[in-house]
C-alpha cells in the first residue's frame, strides 16, 4: 500500500506540479493500489525475457542530411543559441 505523500514526492521529482489533490493524488493512489494484484500472480521465480536486436541488424550509424533546420522551429531560438530558463533562483 503506497501513501499519498510518496506519490506527491515522486510528482515533484518528475517536475509535475499538482494543485488539485483529489484529481491527481487520490486517483493515482487508487490506480497504484489496483496494481497490488500483481503480488498474487506467483511470478517471483519467472525469468524476464527481453527481445534482443543484434548490433549487426541495426542500421549504419551515418549522417543522413535533413533539409529542414529544425532548431529554428524552437520557440526560444535566438539565431545562434536556444534560450532556456535560468538553472537556479
Amino acid at each position: 500500500m503506497v501513501t499519498e505523500e510518496e506519490i506527491e514526492k515522486v510528482s515533484k521529482l518528475m517536475r509535475i506540479g499538482i494543485d488539485d489533490h483529489k484529481e491527481y493524488v487520490e486517483k493515482v493512489h487508487m490506480m497504484i493500489n489496483f496494481f497490488d494484484i500483481l503480488d498474487s500472480a506467483g511470478v517471483e521465480s519467472e525469468e524476464i525475457s527481453m527481445p534482443e536486436i543484434p548490433i549487426s541488424k541495426l542500421r549504419e550509424d551515418e549522417h543522413i542530411p535533413f533539409d529542414d533546420k529544425l532548431i529554428e522551429r524552437l520557440n526560444h531560438y535566438k539565431g545562434t543559441y536556444v534560450r532556456a530558463p535560468k538553472m537556479s533562483s
Partner: protein
C-alpha cells in the same frame, strides 16, 4: 453518391472510370461537414484534399502510373506525423506542432496515391479508451451519440463507421484500435509486433504499441496491410514479412482449424448480450468446419495491472521530452527557474496524462520497482509462455473484443480502475506481440459488439482468412447517422 463502399470497391470504381476521385473525395468532405459537428471525429480537415484528388484523376486520364489507392480518402489518427501538417496528439501541449517529416506509413500511403482527408481525434497521447481524455472533447458513437466511441483511436473508428472516409489508421497499445472498432462496428487490426513501422508515430509505450488499420471489411484490412507493412531502416523493431500478400487466399476458409476459447475473457463481469454474441460466433465458426474448445490462460487476470504498469513506465520516459523547450507551446521564460518552468509548462497536459506520468515515475522508482515494474515484466513473460503454449494446440484464440457494450459518455470517467478493466480482453495481444483483429459481429439494442480473434506471431495472413470467414456469416444494420 454511395459513400458506403469498401476500399477495394472504391479502387475498382475509380480505376474503371465509374466514379472520379474528385467527386468521391468532395462528397466525403461534404459528409464530414454535415455530420462531424455531431460526432467530432476530426481534429483537422485537409483543405487541399479535393485538389489532390483532381490531380489523381488527371494522372488516370493521361495514362500515368497511379498508386494502388487511386485517391482513396483515409483519415489518420492525430499521433502520426504528416509533413507540414498539425500533429497534436489531442493535447494542448502540441496544439501548434507542425510535423517536419512523414511517418513511414504516411510516406508509403502517399506513394500509393492515398488522400488524407484529415487528422482524427484520440485520447490525449493515446492514454484512454473512450476519447474522453482528448483535450478537444470526446468523439461520439455514430450508433448513439450519447455513448462513447471507444478509444484511444475513437476518431478513426467513428470516421470509418460514419462514412467520413473509406479507411483509417489508428495505433493500438492495449486495444486502442480494436476497442473503438468494436464499439463503432468497424474492422480493427493490431498486427504482429514489428510488422508495421512506428517511425513517425508519437511514442506512448514503444515496446508494445503498433499502428493498425480500421476499415469496413476484412479484405480492406488485408489491402491496407499490403500497403503499409514491411521492414523499415528507421525502425529497428520492424520485421521482414517478405512482401506478403495478405489478400491472396483470404477466402481459404477455416475448415479443420482449431480455435481456443479463452475462459478468463468470457467470465465474471461480461455483459449477457456480449456473451450470447460470442457463443453465436463460436457456433458459426464450428459450422464452417472449425473445432472450438475452452482454454485457460491464468495470467490474463493479471494482464491489465501488468499492462498499465509497463505502459505508464514507458510513458513517463517518453513524455519527459515535453519540457516546453524542445516541444511545446509559446510560454515566456522570464520569471521562472528551470524546474519550476518545466513544472508550470507541463500543466498543459490533461489530467489522465499527468496521472500516468506520476505512475510512470513511481512504479519503476527505487524501492518500488521490484513490487511493480519487475513483477509486471514477469507477468508479461509468463503470459507470453502461456499464449505460445496455446498456439501449439490451437490456430486461433477467440473472445469478445470488449466484455461490455459501449457505455454512456461520462459513465466511467471518474473510476479509473473500472475503465482499466474494459481492456481485459485486448491487452494480451499487445503484451505478447501477437496479431489480433476485431470483427463487427452483432448489435444489441442499437449498440455494436465485436468479436476478437488472435493468432500466433507472423500468422497475420491466416488470421485474416479466419476473420474473413467469420465476417461472411453476419449481416449487420446500417449505421443510423
Amino acid at each position: 453518391m454511395n459513400l458506403k463502399i469498401s476500399a477495394l470497391d472504391y479502387v475498382q470504381e475509380v480505376k474503371t472510370g465509374n466514379i472520379s476521385a474528385e467527386d468521391f473525395v468532395a462528397n466525403t468532405i461534404e459528409r464530414i461537414q454535415n455530420v462531424d459537428d455531431k460526432l467530432h471525429a476530426f481534429l483537422s480537415v485537409n483543405e487541399d484534399a479535393i485538389n489532390q484528388a483532381r490531380a489523381i484523376d488527371k494522372k488516370i486520364k493521361s495514362g500515368e502510373k497511379v498508386g494502388d489507392c487511386f485517391g482513396m480518402p483515409i483519415s489518420i489518427k492525430d499521433n502520426m506525423c504528416i509533413k507540414d501538417s498539425k500533429t497534436t496528439c489531442a493535447s494542448k501541449m502540441l496544439e501548434n506542432f507542425i510535423a517536419p517529416y512523414d511517418a513511414t506509413v504516411i510516406a508509403k500511403l502517399k506513394r500509393q496515391d492515398a488522400i488524407f482527408v484529415g487528422k482524427v481525434n484520440m485520447d490525449e497521447f493515446a492514454m484512454g479508451l473512450t476519447t474522453e481524455f482528448s483535450a478537444y472533447g470526446p468523439s461520439k458513437n455514430p450508433w448513439n451519440v450519447e455513448y462513447v466511441s471507444g478509444g484511444s483511436s475513437g476518431g478513426s473508428a467513428v470516421s470509418v463507421s460514419a462514412l467520413e472516409c473509406v479507411a483509417s489508421l489508428g495505433s493500438d497499445t492495449g486495444g486502442s484500435v480494436r476497442n473503438p472498432a468494436s464499439f463503432c462496428s468497424a474492422v480493427g487490426y493490431k498486427p504482429t509486433y514489428g510488422l508495421i513501422s512506428r517511425y513517425g508515430l508519437i511514442s506512448y509505450a514503444n515496446s508494445i504499441e503498433q499502428i493498425g488499420p480500421l476499415t469496413r471489411t476484412v479484405k480492406d484490412t488485408a489491402f491496407m496491410l499490403n500497403l503499409i507493412t514491411g521492414i523499415d531502416p528507421n525502425d529497428d523493431t520492424t520485421i521482414d514479412n517478405k512482401n506478403e500478400d495478405y489478400l491472396s487466399g483470404i477466402e481459404s476458409g477455416i475448415e479443420g482449424k482449431k480455435i481456443g476459447i479463452i475462459k478468463e475473457m468470457i467470465g465474471e463481469g461480461i455483459d449477457p448480450a456480449v456473451l450470447s454474441a460470442t457463443k453465436d460466433a463460436i457456433a458459426k465458426l464450428e459450422g464452417l468446419g472449425a473445432t472450438c474448445e475452452e482454454i485457460s490462460l491464468d495470467m490474463v487476470k493479471y494482464s491489465v495491472a501488468a499492462y498499465y504498469t509497463i505502459t505508464a513506465t514507458e510513458a513517463g520516459s517518453n513524455l519527459a521530452r515535453y519540457d516546453n523547450l524542445r516541444y511545446g507551446y509559446d510560454f515566456p521564460l522570464d520569471g521562472y527557474e528551470f524546474n519550476s518552468y518545466i513544472s508550470k509548462a507541463r500543466r498543459k497536459f490533461g489530467p489522465e496524462v499527468i496521472r500516468r506520468m506520476i505512475i510512470g515515475g513511481f512504479v519503476p522508482s527505487a524501492g518500488h520497482s521490484g513490487k511493480y515494474f519487475l513483477k509486471a515484466l514477469k507477468v508479461k513473460s509468463k503470459l507470453t509462455k502461456e499464449v505460445n503454449g496455446a498456439f501449439k494446440k490451437f490456430d486461433f484464440l477467440i473472445s469478445p473484443t470488449v466484455p461490455i457494450l459501449p457505455f454512456k459518455l461520462g459513465e466511467k470517467i471518474d473510476d479509473p480502475v473500472s475503465l482499466f478493466l474494459v481492456d481485459i480482453n485486448t491487452v494480451t495481444a499487445n503484451l505478447t506481440g501477437k496479431p489480433a483483429i476485431s470483427i463487427p459481429f452483432a448489435n444489441s439494442n442499437g449498440l455494436p459488439i465485436g468479436i476478437q480473434l488472435m493468432a500466433d506471431s507472423m500468422h497475420d495472413k491466416l488470421l485474416l482468412q479466419a476473420a474473413y470467414a467469420l465476417e461472411q456469416t453476419v449481416r449487420l444494420p446500417e449505421v443510423p447517422i
